[in-house]
Symmetry: D2
Subunit: 156 residues, 4 copies
């Protein structure tokens, strides 16, 4: 295993810990990182009573959906930064990660958020020195597409 690869894994692991423990509202959402690699990130969360937006229909609150897709785009942007800065000192990378933030976000609510659990994925459509554009999706436990989004993130 190369040093670069080892450093990349360390950074991605750091990102996972920061994400799950260091961001209070992610805990409210119950978000867990299922898998994380430079090009493949999956977030998962269980349906819970407090995430409901319509008690009669027992479906996810729209805000839960937009929150999860925004977080997904953000962490994919961060992984993109980590991948691009491979080989650089960790504190330099960490410093740049702190600058990552959402500029704008579009969410399309496609189908009712019914399910036992939900999985969010995404991919970078464009990346450069300053800005990344990411597409995100949310599927339920039966692989139905619940919502889709596009986010623009400042990355440098």
């Amino acid at each position: 295993m190369s040093n670069d690869r080892k450093n990349l894994d360390e950074m991605l692991n750091l990102l996972k810990n920061l994400f799950e423990d260091g961001i209070p509202f992610n805990k409210v959402l119950g978000l867990k990182i299922e898998s994380i690699d430079k090009n493949d990130i999956r977030l998962k969360f269980e349906m819970r009573d407090e995430l409901v937006g319509n008690t009669l229909k027992k479906i996810l609150h729209g805000g839960v959906i937009s929150s999860v897709l925004d977080v997904t785009g953000g962490i994919i942007s961060m992984a993109d930064v980590i991948g691009k800065m491979a080989g650089r000192p960790q504190d330099e990378i960490a410093k740049r990660l702190f600058k990552v933030g959402t500029i704008d976000l579009r969410i399309d609510y496609l189908r009712p958020g019914k399910g036992k659990y939900f999985v969010a994925t995404g991919s970078v459509m464009r990346t450069g020195m300053k800005v990344a554009v990411v597409r995100m999706q949310l599927h339920n436990d039966r692989d139905v597409l619940i919502a889709a989004g596009t986010g623009t993130y400042i990355i440098g």
Copy 2:
């Protein structure tokens, strides 16, 4: 006071109760309706530890912002429906309110979400038989514009 006006107030009050008690995730956000009229709706929530997205900077999680703006657009769309159906039987109005839902949403994150409390407002840009388009804003306790959004809602 006319009967229409009385019915309108009753419906808006019903909406307020439904909103604050019947939607679990709104309680997580701590959302309260400060004022509600056909053309003027203000939502308010206090900063709380679990709404934080960045513990170092103590700012709101982006998902809290998108959630609150989506809810704001939704309730404004509902008030628009109530206003348009003034004079109709309450159960007919209620039935139609259940159909209101977000189709899509754009959020612009303008400034860090710092503050003791936050106020969300909005206004209808277009409304018709089927769709309403609403613009929303989030200000902090010092009246700084934190974020803005545009939402398209199905209303019939």
Copy 3:
């Protein structure tokens, strides 16, 4: 060939003619329908001097890109309506096609619009009685993704 299939082809052909001859600004853009089927529509246009937005860089004007992606989403929504109304009288279908219109649109400008010609494609993400949500892409002659978009269309 079934009657339904024949009617579908007739309607799609009608759509093609209407689109290329009946909409003046489509001629300005030089838009041609390369292929049209219920689930596969490709639009094409050549680079021309008057479509340029930056004479030094010789790239497409951003407005050409947003125009083409909006048109692409619109025609895909119309084809969706035609597909759903298969078997219904043509004048009933035509009447409904006239109601199709863009509610809102997001465009992401990903790479400079360089090329000899450009191809726009798209697919329906959600469709129902009232609204369709469509994703569109624009590629150049070397299959580079120039721009992507999401549009919400009223369809009924």
Copy 4:
């Protein structure tokens, strides 16, 4: 008149000429700058046959609307850059203006584009070292709001 003010006026004038003569597709749209100041820019264009999207209804093509609003946001972003760089050498400012470009755009089509002429305006919602977020509106000759948009622009 201060030198700074004189330089600002020169730059804004340069921008006006570049805009009206140097961008071919702007000529197709027939776009003219009615007024240009650091904080107040108005673009105007006349209805013409080739801008029509629906010959029966004689309304603007949606692509004309998205084009004009994109251009409006872009020129407002450029004026913002000029204002911020007041006092710097003109070639330095010009160099930075060439970097301005649209990252993403949302357009809301609110009412049919009927009118003899149309006026586009806008204002900066957020600006910084790298990105500006601008809101734009299109009104017709009777001051009816036809469409609204939000654009994110790279500015540095």
